[in-house]
Subunit: 218 residues, 2 copies
């Protein structure tokens, strides 16, 4: 995943929109369509048409055609290539509780280039069970196993109180990217990529939009 050059030349904002385009294009393709116009995508996805056109221009290997638009198959290939959906990267998840099992069960991560090869938990009840095909190991073996498996990505789905120490162990095991679902800020070396999945932040932004809408109505 992502260990290619392509992803580097694409803006962060665009990268964030690619998965949505990908789903949309897959749908259109399944519906038998061959081309899309930026205007149609923009309308359906409620985005600005110019923005979409620039995004599609980055993705597409060939120029769009007036009156026709872009080739759907080509766009999908482009996103696959940029996001590395064609080659899979291994990851481990720590925390096999509610959120952890939901994430593993959520499935489809493999379609996004992520292959969860192991789960970890410190609850004896959960150790040695399987979670959607993924075996749950003892947290005590985390560092050793992560190092042995040569895993680059770690997912943290443990309570806030345990998150920092788990993160430290993941780094010790050689992980270079951390996807953090615990509501805490992790203190980590600068050369580790971190993405915090901050539910409270999402909720705050939703609230802002709601406030704007309700306010515009009075």
């Amino acid at each position: 995943m992502g260990n290619n050059q392509d992803i580097q030349n694409v803006s962060k904002a665009t990268i964030g929109r690619l998965p949505a385009y990908h789903r949309y294009l897959k749908e259109k393709m399944a519906a038998g369509e061959r081309t899309v116009s930026s205007t149609a995508v923009a309308e359906d996805l409620h985005l600005n048409a110019v923005k979409v056109r620039k995004d599609l221009a980055v993705i597409s290997s060939v120029a769009g055609k007036p009156k026709l638009g872009f080739s759907i198959a080509d766009l999908i290939d482009g996103i696959d290539r940029i996001l590395g959906y064609d080659n899979v990267t291994d990851a481990v998840i720590v925390g096999a509780g509610g959120l952890g099992s939901a994430l593993v069960g959520y499935g489809g991560f493999k379609a996004y280039g992520l292959n969860i090869v192991a789960a970890f938990d410190n609850d004896p009840e959960r150790i040695d069970t399987t979670l959607g095909g993924v075996k749950v190991f003892d947290s005590n073996d985390l560092v050793r196993l992560v190092r042995r498996l040569n895993v680059l990505i770690g997912i943290i789905a443990v309570p806030a109180s345990a998150a920092q120490s788990v993160a430290d162990e993941l780094v010790e095991g050689g992980v270079r990217a951390i996807w953090n679902f615990a509501p805490v800020h992790l203190t980590l070396p600068a050369n580790i990529a971190v993405k915090n999945e901050d539910m409270a932040a999402s909720l705050a932004i939703l609230s802002k939009r709601l406030a704007e809408i309700l306010n515009s109505e009075k």
Copy 2:
């Protein structure tokens, strides 16, 4: 939640950072501290000091003092006020499966001004059970119950295939904001606030960062 004026004048980027400040400030307060400087916050949270100072200036009701910084208690009050953490808004969640129960169990939403008053599912096994104190109702009663409860926010935690119809029903029931955890783009009226929790997008951004880091090392 958020049904106040304050949230309107604050930039979206700042809004997204407020929950992290809130957690940080609560920690500091619990540790017995009374003031923080923007430089300290910036260092601990790995943010730019000027950015933090501007954020804190928006939050704080009084000016910061040289050598001392800002009052922690005042900042917390400010965030509570802006994000509406002091007055709680009701919400319902649809989908009591893995993700749904994880979200309800994730708990702490009430601390973020969100009170989940009901869950819905169409699986007879789940109907009439309780999920962390929240009763699971039959999806068939969704529209009627949501309308009766006068709920403004709906959380969608159902499989992708069911998400659009659930969203339509929520809107029919009077919901004005939708927090969507299903990996699909929802087509909804313009006067409904939507926040998509797009795991694939998060993963894409994490991958980009990882690619940048790995690339800078060779």
